[in-house]
Structures are given as structure tokens and as C-alpha cells.
Symmetry: C2
Subunit: 242 residues, 2 copies
């Protein structure tokens, strides 16, 4: 049986990140591995935090005082409305999250750990001070925010003009890029995904996603089993997605 | 009868901006009036262009070699899919558009003039060179792109979780902010809007938008007539929109 955390509980969830005992060397190592900071100095005042699986790195609408840089594990960014949950994005190792704190007093959504997650917590004042004097970092961050904006624009345009099948196909192509592992049948999406989780990303219901995945499997575009998906025919999915 | 330009024609439309004879003083005056450039020097190499009503300032997927700064008139940003058109945003005096050219070789959508439009055309190389050495401009642009991203994220979340009525209500509240003129009944939206145009913004059909506007009028939340809308009860619309 596929289950998400009940919405009432998600609402109640507050950040549950713990500070880890860390050395400046640990912090520096994590900064170095992120494309955003490649070749740049770590931002001072940063610390390492860890959160357990299913716990929140930060909560929706809670006070935003830090930008997070994921070191290991994955986070799902979730916006909760009274009757429905939307998956806004996924973040993995080397990726920045919670960067809205640079502009806003509160986080737009919750970052929930899908695995045990380790991240660098960068205080927002130090991040801002660094941006003012580091044109390289500012330029890279601008590009990152623009990419995330373009992705959001593609998603609302797809919500308006594409079928749920097309949006599921687009999700599977992206999932194969993000988590893909080579497999004899094609590309194994290397994480467990519930049908409800996919539905919360494409803006549909669990039932509809189940029907669509069944149809894609029947047509040999994917293989499924044990909450795992193998993308067998990426080109066909890409054609379906537009 | 409410009509948009037929999709086939929109597809065929190519940029139709003409260079105007302009002095550096004209360009400087337009830069000065934009919040983004307030207190900053104009970017060299910029020229003034004009486009007539219903013509394209730039076309979707055409070569992106300039960022545009609107001086007067309005543009509607449109993404055209084979069977449907989506209004991505509106841009008016003082606003930047086509800034995706800083990161990409082609424009994401078409900018169509709703009135005769005047804009400053800023060559992308000069804009990039300026960003590298102007931390104030870079910071303001980062904030602008982040705001546009947050707006896009709100729209896809709304597409997934809110009713069409809620999205129409949100559109009307925004339209009153953007184009509002004080009126004895409330706030007059000071531009003509077709039901099809509203539908292309909220992701619905003309028929559904017509029914919803009729219902909002019956409940005295708005007044309509001659393609004009008066927002009578902003608070009630705001409550409907969430």
C-alpha cells in the first residue's frame, strides 16, 4: 500500500535539522563539491546539519534565515494546501535549496528528507554579503534562479496545455536524468517513487497516475515493479511529453 | 464578438520592431524611469525600437540577442503550443522583458504589443559585461528573476490545486493592481481584456471564463461591460483566490 505522510502531519511538521559536530574542513569539502561554488571560497559562518528520513530540513512558511547546500541524501520540496500537496522540486547532492531566504523572511515550501540528509547551512546575512562582492557567485546564482524559473514556467504551461499522460512522460524523462542508473532494459530510476508522489508532481491523482503507468508499461515504454521504474524507450516518452 | 489573432498567424509572426531615430538623451530618460536602473548609468549600445499594436517585439524561439526595457505601451508574453496559446505574463512601462537572452540563444515566448509599444533594446553582450562589474544591477536583476520565478511557481501550484474560479479571482486581483484606476464602484481595470485572453492566462476555456465572470458579476464582486471590468469587492476576490 502506497502512503504519504498524512497532510495534517505535514502541516504540523517543523524543521528538525540537527547541528552536527563539524570541522571547517568538512564544510569546505561540501562547498567544493557543489558546481555553484566550484573554485570559490566557502561562505564563512556555515555549519553542517543533518536530518533523518521523513523529517523537515526547513518548514513551509517558517522563518528563513539560511540557504542550504545539500551534501548527501535527497530532499523533496513540498507546498501544502488545505486539501492537496504539490511537489515543487527535488534537491540532491551539490544542489542549493531554500535560496528564497535571500529575498524573503519565510520559506516558500517544506524541504522534506527522502533519505537521511546532510547539508551545509549558510546564514543568509553572510550569503548576501558575499554576493555583494563576488560577481562570479552572483552570476552563477542568477543563472540558477533563471533555470528554476524556466522550469516553473514550463510546468504551468504544461499544466494548462498538456495531458496528464504528457506530464507523466516528462516527469519520467527528468527522473531518468536525475536518478538514472544504467540497466540492461534501459535506465533504472534509482529511487523509489510512489504513484501518489508522481501525482503530486504532475498535478493529478494517484489513480490516474496508476492507469497511465500501466498503459506505458503495456506499450513497453517503461518497466515497473517494487516501486521502481525502468525507462525503456526514452525517445518515445520524450515524444509523448510535448 | 471576442477574437484573438488566429493561432496560425501567431505562429507565423516574426519580430517587427523598427529602430527609431533616437538620441542618447532619449535612451537615458527611459533607463532612468525604470526601477531596475534607478540611479544607475544606461547600458551603452542601447537603441529605441517601436512596434505597432498586435505586432511582435520579439518572436518565440527566435534568436535572442537583446534584453528589452519597455518605455511605453504594453506587451503580452505568449507561448504557443500546436493547439493552444498561454499568456505567460504582461509587461508595461519600466519593466524588463526578454531577459532570458542573457542565458539562452532564443526567446522563450513571443512578446506581442497590445498597444503601440516603445522599448529600449539593450544588446545582450553589453548587458552581460555590465552585470560582471555592477553588483547593484546584478543584485536587482537576481531579485527580479526570483520574483518572476515565485510567480511562475504560484501559478503551477494553483493550476494543480485551485479551481478555475479561484484562478480567475487571482487574475482579477492582479489586474486591478497592475492596471487599476479609481472608480466610484471600486477599481476599474484600465485595459480591455477578452474572455479568451483571461482564459489563456488562467489555463481554461473562453466559455468557462464567461460563465465565471457572469457569476462574479451576479454576486456583485465585479461589474462588467464593453470589455471592461470593475473590481467591486477585492477582499471577496482575494478570499476566493486561495
Amino acid at each position: 500500500v502506497i502512503r504519504e505522510m498524512p497532510i495534517a502531519k505535514a502541516y504540523a511538521s517543523t524543521p528538525q535539522a540537527r547541528r552536527s559536530p563539524t570541522s571547517p574542513a568538512d564544510v569546505a569539502r561540501i562547498f567544493t563539491k557543489s558546481p555553484l561554488f566550484e573554485g570559490l571560497q566557502p561562505i564563512s559562518g556555515s555549519t553542517v546539519v543533518t536530518v533523518d528520513r521523513r523529517r523537515a530540513l526547513y518548514g513551509q512558511a517558517t522563518r528563513a534565515d539560511a540557504v542550504l547546500l545539500v551534501a548527501s541524501g535527497r530532499a523533496r520540496l513540498i507546498k501544502t494546501a488545505p486539501d492537496r500537496t504539490t511537489t515543487m522540486a527535488y534537491r540532491g547532492p551539490g544542489e542549493l535549496t531554500g535560496e528564497e531566504s535571500l529575498f524573503s523572511d519565510s520559506y516558500d515550501c517544506e524541504a522534506r528528507a527522502l533519505d537521511r540528509l546532510e547539508a551545509v547551512r549558510i546564514p543568509v546575512e553572510q550569503f548576501r554579503a558575499r554576493l555583494d562582492k563576488d560577481a562570479v557567485l552572483a552570476g552563477r546564482l542568477l543563472r540558477l534562479v533563471q533555470e528554476r524559473r524556466a522550469s516553473a514556467e514550463r510546468r504551468f504551461e504544461a499544466a494548462f496545455t498538456r495531458s496528464v499522460e504528457a506530464r507523466v512522460a516528462a516527469f519520467l524523462v527528468e527522473a531518468a536524468v536525475r536518478w538514472g542508473i544504467k540497466h540492461e532494459l534501459g535506465t533504472l530510476v534509482g529511487v523509489k517513487l510512489t504513484h501518489l508522489e508522481i501525482a503530486s508532481y504532475v498535478g493529478s491523482t494517484r489513480e490516474t497516475v496508476t492507469v497511465i503507468l500501466g498503459e506505458l508499461k503495456r506499450r513497453h515504454l517503461i518497466e515497473t515493479g517494487h516501486r521502481r521504474i525502468i525507462v525503456r524507450d526514452r525517445e518515445a516518452l520524450l515524444r509523448l511529453s510535448v
